[in-house]
């Protein structure tokens, strides 16, 4: 009930959409806004004044105003993390970025005319790759009359980002054992950024399947 209270007085974006099952903080604490840009944006709206009365949680360990911080990249690091070894995950992603950069710079050196069109910024490449491999629809099994039909349903934005990153990582982990993850990941991301490769193929396959199962779409509401 306090949450509903808070949500009335505080911007909706700051209250967790999911229940606070795992927090050491009392429920009325809001998430920290550590980005200066976001704070400036808030100042222009009315909600800034309301925030001065709200207690705020502490900023997390991996969030900061440093030049290396990017929300998507951070999420990617989290997905690569295994067994809590985030340090290693970050190293792997950095190496992967390095690989990507080197490949792109080589390409730039080979055709100097296309210098403007070739993006060498690894973060940009990653973002582009994820954008290119985000699905719009996904299939769910819905049981009607004893038969399970694969019904196409829309995908929330959050889930689409998650699926894109998961597919890229899966594809990267699948290949040969001798080659290490950073290089494999770099190649996957480059492919996806140029709309080629396995991940984009997977997304397109999924879209085609959804298109094919168009007839079952009404089973959602039955």
């Amino acid at each position: 009930m306090l949450r509903s209270l808070c949500s009335r007085l505080v911007p909706h974006s700051l209250v967790c959409a999911f229940t606070r099952g795992m927090s050491a903080y009392p429920p009325h604490y809001i998430e920290a806004i550590f980005s200066k840009k976001k704070q400036l944006n808030l100042k222009e709206t009315d909600e800034y004044i309301k925030l001065s009365h709200m207690p705020i949680k502490a900023a997390k360990n991996d969030e900061s105003e440093s030049i290396f911080y990017n929300e998507l990249v951070n999420k990617m690091v989290n997905y690569i993390t295994k067994g809590g070894n985030k340090k290693l995950a970050r190293e792997l992603l950095t190496k992967s970025f390095e690989c990507m950069k080197r490949v792109q710079i080589e390409r730039m050196n080979l055709n100097p005319d296309a210098k403007d069109t070739i993006i060498a910024d690894p973060e940009q490449l990653l973002i582009k790759a994820i954008e290119n491999s985000r699905p719009l629809l996904q299939l769910t099994a819905i049981k009607r009359g004893g038969v399970k039909y694969q019904v196409p349903i829309p995908v929330t934005e959050k889930r689409s980002y998650f699926l894109a990153m998961k597919w890229i990582l899966e594809a990267a982990r699948e290949k040969e054992r001798k080659v290490h993850l950073p290089e494999k990941l770099a190649w996957e991301v480059l492919d996806a950024a140029y709309n080629q490769g396995r991940v984009v193929k997977k997304k397109n396959d999924l879209h085609r399947q959804c298109e094919a199962n168009r007839a079952y779409a009404h089973y959602r509401w039955s």
Binding site: A17, E71, L72, L93, K95, F97, D121, I127, T156
Partner: protein, 391 residues
Amino acid sequence: MLARHSLKLPRLTNMCASFCTATAEAAAEPLYNRPKLAPTDYRTGETNTDLHSKVHEAKFYTIAPEIKKQLFSGGGLPRQYEQQVKTFTETCLMVRPAGLELINYIRNTDFKRPAIRYVLYGDNGVGKTLIMAHALHYGLQNNFVLVHVPWVPNWMKRPKETANAAQEGFIDLPFDAAAWLVHFKTQNTNLLTKLQLKTSKDYVWSKREATPAGSTLLELVEHGIARIKFASETIAALLSELKQHASEDKCKVMVAIDGFNAFFHPETRVFGDHKQRITPDRITLTQPFLDITNYNWTNGVCILTVDKIGMTEGFMESYMPRYLLGKEGFEHLDPFVPVRVDNYSDKEFASCVQYYLDRNWIQKTPEGFDEQLKYLSNKNPYTLMQLTRSL
């Protein structure tokens, strides 16, 4: 086509909104206008190391690809630096005060006196190997015969193959020795053919093989390469010959050894007969190099590096020469001239960052990034390189 199914647009929750903005911002971020340095501020066209002086401090100078191949094809540049060279398509070294100091000393040495030993020391990643590379380049350009060991701990920790040496209880490293001889050859072929130094005595390798006195050093080297079994002994012979020739004023010798403290480490990873670890002084390769770093010869200089990385765990407390060399090593090298290599200064840091920008290595330039880099890396060259990997 898919849009025809009135898709209920999902509610934008916090993260998605911020993802969208993250992508939008990243795409539309204006280039931060930092003070741009003109190319002459961080580069110089002076490739003659002789003429490098304080004017050229904190500037990069290029090494021509053929010279680089000649000097460093057997090693000598750190692995990451090699990759960087490949990506940047050019080899650029920075002129740093420590390097200038060293070269100044060498330039002003009195070659009639016994050989002086210079020891480069400093923390991890501060630039010792590259300064040695700078000095090597200087040596090449001034007709020194280069005796350059790229990285001693490679021999101690990752030997390609071991074999029992001719001498009792000693271990040979044939492949490594042969590789080094190849490296020596590439570096010094031109000079040696010009100087035509001859061996002074007979070297008998086995019943059938012998190198007579009066053959050129090049022949000696080639024999060593061909007959790997005797490579280590060849090295010993070669170095003693060089010492003699240098003392007789026939040539100048520059000895450059990276990771010298590995010769004095309590143990190596080389296994002997009964799977026992061996100390470095039981390896045949140690002896000739220890010999040549003595001061009982003239007309030469020794540039040595002591590095914390060369030691194993438990011996990495400090980067000071006395600690890394131990009692033996210190006594062997005493007296020597220590040359300290530090992190970048502000000027060097700025020029390094500019160089990276110029070579398209740093792609993202948000506001205040160089300050952040400065404090994050503490102006350490190696850390800066690591940090800019993902930028």
